[in-house]
Amino acid sequence: MNIVHADPRGVDSGAHFMDGDHAIAEGALAAGCRFFAGYPITPSTETAERFAERAPEVGAMFIQMEDEIASIAALIGAAWGGQKAMTVTSGPGFSLMMENIGLAAMTETPIVLANVQRGGPSTGLPTLTAQQDMFQARFGSHGDYNIIALCPDSPQECFDLTVEAFNLAETYRTPVFIMTDETVGHMHEKVVIPPADHIKVVERNLFTGPKEDFRPYRFDSQGGHPMARAGAGYRFHITGLTHDERGYPVMTAAQNQVVVTHLIEKINGNAECIIRLEEDQVEGAEVLVISYGITSRIAVRAIAEARKKDIKVGALRLITVWPFCERRIRELAGQVRAMVVAEINYGQMVREVERCAAGRCRVISVNHCGGAVHDPAVITQAIEEACR
């Protein structure tokens, strides 16, 4: 891994009063992203606007594409052309991007996609918040594969996690998603962008050996195998078909086993390095509240109310949503009486919690569909119920 300081040209250092959408664009520029292709959609458009405005200052390219399908295809091309590339969208656009998300996963192309979630399905609730695309992020494209998804809870974290998303994309050669929501996307808070020499950036690992030795893939369940830039003189083949280490199609069950195992294990096998959680008073807790994104900030008030009633409540915030923190949930399931999972959907990540808790503690889902954040009292009620 080649870790360098950020290129100061892309870093708008200093304190800003900024919304989450703009902070994503700034994070991308700080991380060295110089290619953005996208199609405007509420509530994510502000990211594209910010990137478009800043692109000429930093020598980046911004293209408003004809649709989301073309947008993500352009990202894959840009990445193999040597660029760090990103797009931003919301539910309907995310659905359109699914086919080529699979292509990016299969071809191990590092790209970053931010989904500023709104209520669905379909065009759903264009202007209102939701967390309904969490499973789509993991399983939305066909076939078996794996991805990484991060979930910021503030504009500051939108900046920080976008930088991290690019670093993870390069480290594991995989699509990385920033799964934020309308509330965080449009919330304004202070965002401190550090000086460029305080921002660590993972550079593209480019092959430098003899031309005949280059292989675009190595199926070793690790990430970060060197890439070559299209046009740099290395001969290689990129296809969505099951392929060998040269990238040429090999249509056998045995090779599919090799490729798919690698795609999944390069992330699962490094899960402990990838996963970030925030825990509060988890030791000795009777009830553990699990949440992510905006919901974790609503849960704070519910937890404070419950603690006033002398209930021992811990909080666990998923900063990394995928890969899921299986080991930690298994551990904690043996320590707490109940887990309360709060999210703005019909019950998605709660399924992962139930799977990992495996009946060793109660799992209570506090959910509602898109359009609004929780009333904290509803979460407090669930915490109280969990103690009974």
């Binding site: 304190a15 800003h16 009063f17 509530p43 202007t127 209102l128 309308e182 509330t183 449009h186 919330m187 304004h188 808070e189 202070k190 905006i294 900030r297 609503i298 704070v300 008030r301 954040v373 904290p376």
Partner: protein, 186 residues
């Protein structure tokens, strides 16, 4: 100032309500050493009709991002006053545009300030500056934020060629606020 103050700016779309919250939030969090979280009504229904922005201000990091017991309400339209005055806490502050809002039966414990923001804005050339006049008044009567921080926050949030006139609109409003405060002093 209490450790946390909740503020609602409200009016109708086009009055610069969101801009008021942005300027105040930026002033507090960048120049007054406070934490501020701004959330806004967002949607097609916000344009031309009711519009509001919420600002939570605190000496500490803000976790819960919404207002639940606002201490200050600025209402620049009748609809905003009617809709939001019941949520203001007893002893809270209510600032209304005096030509646009007819006061009704709000909680008598509220401290009420009336500002002729539109007329003042017209006197300096354009009613588009109504929000800055109101913000100047708000700054003087609430003391939540310093005038210096507010003026420093303006560049980047108002068009550069109108910066000077926005600053003078703010100052006019501030003067009105200082006078109103003096008149109200026991």
């Amino acid at each position: 100032m209490m450790s946390t103050t909740e503020i609602r700016f409200s009016g109708f779309g086009g009055q610069g309500i969101i801009r008021c919250a942005l300027i105040t939030g930026k002033a507090l969090s960048l120049y007054d050493d406070k934490f501020a979280t701004m959330t806004q009504s967002f949607g097609p229904e916000a344009r031309g009709s009711a519009c509001s922005a919420q600002l939570v201000v605190s000496a500490q990091r803000i976790l819960y991002p919404y207002i639940t017991a606002p201490a200050v309400l600025m209402a620049l339209s009748q609809g905003a006053y009617d809709k939001y005055h019941p949520e203001v806490i007893p002893g809270g502050t209510l600032i209304v545009e005096e030509d646009l809002v007819k006061l009704g039966d709000h909680d008598p414990r509220l401290q009420v300030w009336r500002v002729p923001a539109t007329r003042v804005a017209e006197s300096i050339g354009n009613r588009l500056f109504t929000n800055l006049v109101a913000l100047g008044f708000f700054t003087a009567v609430t003391g939540v934020v310093t005038a210096e921080a507010m003026k420093r926050a303006l560049p980047g949030l108002v068009p550069g060629r109108f910066l000077k006139v926005n600053i003078s609109a703010f100052e006019k409003g501030y003067e009105h606020g200082v006078q109103a405060r003096g008149a109200a002093a026991p």
